[in-house]
Symmetry: C2
Subunit: 311 residues, 2 copies
């Protein structure tokens, strides 16, 4: 069996030990481990990278700990506006949705856009109409409710303030979820999903559904998912830049990720990080802030789950 | 005075001489020349690249010949869904809007997103609410009406078919508009705007409002605007790829544009082209289809306007 590899994240930011309890840490790490073990099992059984990243992101979307799907943050209008995207490194096909309401698993809608339409990206009510046509599962707004997210929103509601979920001082400082994988067939894939920023206004879209910025995959180089402050990530076309540094300058995955996250994004006040995997199963979990909820596992390995920078 | 340069386009595709009359050609070229001369004048007077590309795109949006602003194609619901983006090569700031209705000049809304918000991208009704708050000019749906666009839509309405405006057999085969410029201060900028595809459904978004794909600018390399079949352009992150080939492989602007448009996009069935300018005022007008409505002018020059590949 050829080597397989998976990496996941549940957001990055100012995640500090002194705001954590051992109990909370345990919960967060258990959520990551659950997703990671599922992904690794599917890959070891011969699952395709594209299917595996979708399944793993669904698990993270269904977990209210993370700001994606159930547990997504509140937008300014009191609803949950969901963004997601995915890309197949083999075919270079991609699917993305933005500003969608009440779709249980946004990543599955992104997958449907990719597989069942001639488009790459759909937004808003149009994307919801497509979801209905495709038989995608919707939930009531109540399904997405989370008390802590609601309390976060109440503090900034009716103000022009938005808060990056991960810089809020509350307990569940997550922002985005994502997964990248290498399967037995040498294929790479990336998938990412988010509820964006608490109290976001005006149909704001971050980097998550932007192919090239929040998500990119290409078998020749790597699969990348980003998490962080969306605006500098869009302007820096982060995911594709990592891929180009490998393709055009011959950098290793780790060198390319460091160049973009630890140099370029730092210069541009782009707080956050990324997860990435290359065709040889090398994994990079790189971030320029205090912490990133993250994990990785290669076939036959025990897996690694961590939160802070020194783990 | 330092050299200035501007390039514009009004769409690319299967533009054939045998479907043209001398009169139509004249009209199309006059529209391009008008925009080009304005852009060059503003640049020679000391205008900033960012302001100039906005003004030039506004002229093209206001001209019903082009599929942007007035004269935009009809979406499946009979409205006009407008996308636009722009980027400043000096600050790397960017603004983008997608799926917006009734905004007279979508590029001006993209500029407002860039200058007056903390966001890079807004979509749908949220973006419209922001436009209202900013005092952006709206028009009635009637303003955008164009008989030929309407007739094109009638032919595919109530079918699942969409048509790329430029591959339709009608007379006004335009698709997107765009402008890139170098000003006297060495700053680059790019701006692009479109109505997308006739009968597009489900809130489809093409490459035009995607920073990195349809639009990118960075003083160290180049400013790029794309026009063509949006989906392969998104998946190939075209505009940023041109910039990366210059930055990481040391290619010239023309070499980089050719590598992406004539090789990579051709392999990926990505019909279309791009306009680009670098910090030395070199201009590339590169396309892999029969024609591209295009023009360029450097300070003190006479300017160049063309439609077909052999001009």
């Amino acid at each position: 069996m050829k080597k397989t590899a998976i990496a996941i994240h549940g957001g990055a930011g100012t995640i500090l030990r002194n705001r954590m309890t051992p109990e909370k840490e345990k919960k967060y790490k258990a959520g990551l481990r659950e997703a990671l073990i599922l992904g690794n099992e599917l890959l070891e059984k011969g699952g395709k990278a594209l299917d595996v990243v979708e399944e793993v992101v669904k698990v993270l979307e269904n977990n209210p700990l993370y700001n994606a799907g159930k547990g997504a943050v509140f937008a300014a209008d009191g609803t949950h506006l969901l963004d997601a995207s995915m890309m197949c490194g083999d075919t270079l096909k991609a699917g993305a949705i933005a500003g969608v309401r009440r779709v249980k698993n946004p990543i599955t809608l992104a997958r449907a856009v990719m597989d069942q339409s001639a488009y790459v990206m759909m937004v808003g009510e149009g994307a919801e109409a497509f979801a209905k046509q495709q038989g995608i599962t919707f939930e009531s707004e109540d399904y997405f409710f989370d008390q802590l997210r609601y309390d976060q929103w109440q503090r900034v509601k009716d103000t022009p303030m938005t808060i990056l979920d991960h810089t809020d001082k509350g307990e569940k400082n997550f922002s985005t979820v994502g997964a990248v994988a290498l399967d037995q067939y040498g294929n790479l894939a990336a998938a990412t999903s988010t509820g964006g920023m608490t109290n976001k206004q005006f149909g704001r879209v971050g980097d998550t559904p932007i192919i090239g910025s929040g998500c990119y995959a290409e078998n020749e180089t790597c699969a990348v998912c980003c998490t962080g402050h969306g605006e500098p990530f869009i302007r820096s076309v982060v995911a594709f830049d990592v891929s180009r540094l490998m393709a055009y300058k011959g950098l290793s995955l780790e060198e390319a990720a460091k160049e973009v996250v630890m140099k370029k994004l730092v210069e541009r006040d782009g707080e956050g990080g990324l997860i990435a995997v290359d065709r040889e199963g090398n994994i990079s979990l790189t971030f320029n802030c205090e912490g990133m909820y993250r994990g990785s596992m290669v076939s036959g390995g025990e897996g690694y789950v961590a939160i802070y920078g020194d783990e």
